[in-house]
Symmetry: C2
Subunit: 418 residues, 2 copies
């Protein structure tokens, strides 16, 4: 198989399909989503069988238990795939929305229209549910998409692809609007991320290693998420109850998500009243504490923290703690060592809250709320294709709108440039 | 000189300065802009002297007349540099604007704040006026910037840089907010476009060759403009007067700009009444006409057009003409051969106008107006850093807002994730 020729053909078909998708009516896109959801439920047995083949191979290949877990389909995950598609169908269609029309002195009237990006390439690990989810988001946002899932999920992804194609056809939309790459060859990814004539944006979903590799080699723009080194800063004017509740939840609600707190910053004057009770909570939940010298004066059992800790995303029951002299030091720590993801201040002081919001350079900045809220569903986006730690195009949780762009519309009556 | 070490130092300083710029007050930024404008006027003689040195060298090096023309500073261009800075000062400050705050079922309130991108790298040819203009736009939008002008303008750019630094210092802003690369070594550009830790976006301004080279090698995201292959489509339901006025203006107002029409598409039923008078106008203005077979039936003196013409940006008094059977063929021609820049339909038919707006995949789409209006000033942006033919981040004329991003703001009262 000539991978380059194959991918060029996939790209050409996607570009053509993207034109039909861009002008597709809302009801056709929603009909496709509902048909795919129904198809997934109706063919649950076939999906489970295809998944069983993948699981068997993956076990034989010695895949890690955590990865096997993500690869596994169950009746419950199949039901939630279908439910996710129905939710996407219920979202407002952003495409074609127009607004902001203003008359200019020349007589023309200038506004904007929301349009799809065109062709979206999505590269992800062996998680079959992402296949349906990503396809659904791209259909609703009027994009064509080229999906490349982890090789371990190959059979299952192909089975889902058939159901997606059937749903698109049923709704009168081009089957090539969603294509799943049919070869496990890695060279296909290399082609996908460099075909600038056919692909408008790449969204990698997965571990940092995958995303760094893709960003390094891509010629197509990438919407990406690298680290989530999130902070909570407890100010000296923090309400003690709120501080404890938030710092507990931000760390211990779940350890693996990117919006979990990794470093707790505490104003010296708030340390005694907040750190001591928090340390009890953390210890009771088995969280390892690492602290600066001042922290260890207060919590002698904490392990010494180094600069390496300030820049580490543990994704584990480990927390680094630093006692700071003031708000400036907290903001400076966050902007220096953080990953510009999500950071929160706990304070009752209006001016410090306002400064924190303005000066912390992160995609989500919060006052008196847990960093765990940084999420497309919690923000009301309805669905999420990922979280961007980039500043270009989309920042923070990326929903349907992140898969769109705006073009300028000029309405005239024969005006010409003088 | 160790270029890599030098550029790393420039990058580090820019990143640091970007933090101060992000929180700078509107009045400080405006004070800097006004101080730089005054400095430029006050030191006009020194700027002319520095420019004379550059001109002398450029002439000795045999620079083309058109490039010499752009390099040349005059009292008039100096005055308009100062005026441009004053205009930027008068624009609304987009930074820190907040809005769209909505309460969510969890109790948190979610909104957005407009923020600078951070560090903007601008690479341009030997046009000293761009130095002041680009510095001004970055200051107002709260970014730090690293400027790299064409080597031929070296002395003049350094002289402007001194005035910019003085203006920043006078307003209490960091001098490193605007840095001009102090070496003509080309390796500096290679560093600039790959320092992802210090630079957030690259804006190249110049010819297609420069922009293609930069896009190819950049690791930092690029906001770019490649071709301007713009179309006017005269529909069979076009008003004849509007059609002739617009097709004349779009081609002959100026030949070099990117928003000038390069291909005229005419519905077969409108050809007789519009193409014959238009051909007279074009001939009288010395525009060479190239046409499809049907066009040449009507205009026997037109040169045969080939596919190569449909994909060529002439930037010259040359026009290709194609007679099409219907709106679908016009849209298909534009989406296939155009450059997604600016395209206009002339029609009195509501449904065809609406379809054209929706289906033409270009950064500006117009009804009954000249493509020459695609411009930041004409659209009311007040200033323009460039025109983007990309779909990601910014599309079409890019003003201050294109140099910004939005972060999420969450206001809570102690809420945690359940």
């Amino acid at each position: 198989m000539d991978i380059q020729a194959y991918m060029q053909e996939v790209g050409r078909k996607a570009r053509l399909a993207s034109r039909a998708m861009a002008k597709a009516e809302t009801r056709a896109k929603d009909a496709a989503l509902l048909a795919i959801a129904a198809g997934i439920e109706l063919n649950a047995k076939d999906l489970l069988a295809a998944n069983a083949r993948d699981m068997e191979q993956a076990r034989a290949d010695g895949l890690e238990p955590a990865l096997l877990d993500r690869l596994q389909l169950t009746e419950k995950t199949i039901a939630s795939m279908a439910e996710g598609l129905r939710q996407i169908a219920s979202l407002r269609d952003p495409i074609g929305e127009m607004g902001d029309f203003k008359f200019r002195p020349s007589g023309i009237q200038v506004g904007k229209m929301r349009v799809p990006l065109g062709v979206v390439g999505i590269i992800y690990e062996a998680r079959p549910n992402v296949t349906a989810d990503a396809a659904g988001l791209c259909i609703k946002s009027g994009n064509a998409t080229i999906l490349r899932g982890g090789r371990e999920a190959f059979h299952c992804n192909q089975a889902i692809a058939q159901l997606v194609k059937a749903g698109l056809a049923e709704a009168g939309l081009p089957e090539a609007a969603v294509q799943i790459i049919e070869t496990p060859d890695r060279a296909a990814v290399g082609e996908l991320i460099t075909m600038t004539e056919f692909v408008d944006v790449i969204v990698p979903r997965g571990g940092k290693g995958l995303i760094e590799r893709i960003s390094k080699d891509a010629r197509v723009p990438v919407i990406k998420h690298l680290d989530g080194i999130c902070h909570v800063y407890i100010d000296d004017e923090a309400d003690t109850d709120k501080a404890i509740r938030i710092a507990d939840n931000a760390k211990t609600h779940r350890y693996a998500p990117c919006n979990t707190m990794e470093t707790l910053l505490v104003h010296a004057n708030a340390a005694q009243r907040t750190l001591l009770p928090l340390a009890d909570i953390y210890r009771s939940k088995g969280v390892e504490l690492r602290g600066c010298a001042a922290t260890r004066d207060l919590l002698p059992d904490a392990i010494p923290a180094t600069e390496e800790d300030w820049r580490t995303e543990y994704l584990a029951p480990i927390l680094s703690i630093r006692i700071v002299a003031d708000l400036d030091m907290a903001i400076d720590h966050i902007n220096t060592w953080g990953s510009h993801h999500t950071d929160a201040i706990v304070t009752e002081n209006y001016t410090k809250a306002r400064r924190f919001l303005r000066e912390v350079d992160s995609s989500s900045v919060m006052v008196n709320a847990s960093t765990r809220f940084a999420d497309g569903f919690e923000y009301g986006l309805g669905a999420e294709i990922g979280i961007s730690t980039d500043k270009i195009h989309a920042r923070g949780p990326v929903g349907l709108e992140g898969l769109t762009s705006e073009k300028w519309i000029v309405l005239g009556n024969g005006e010409v440039r003088a």
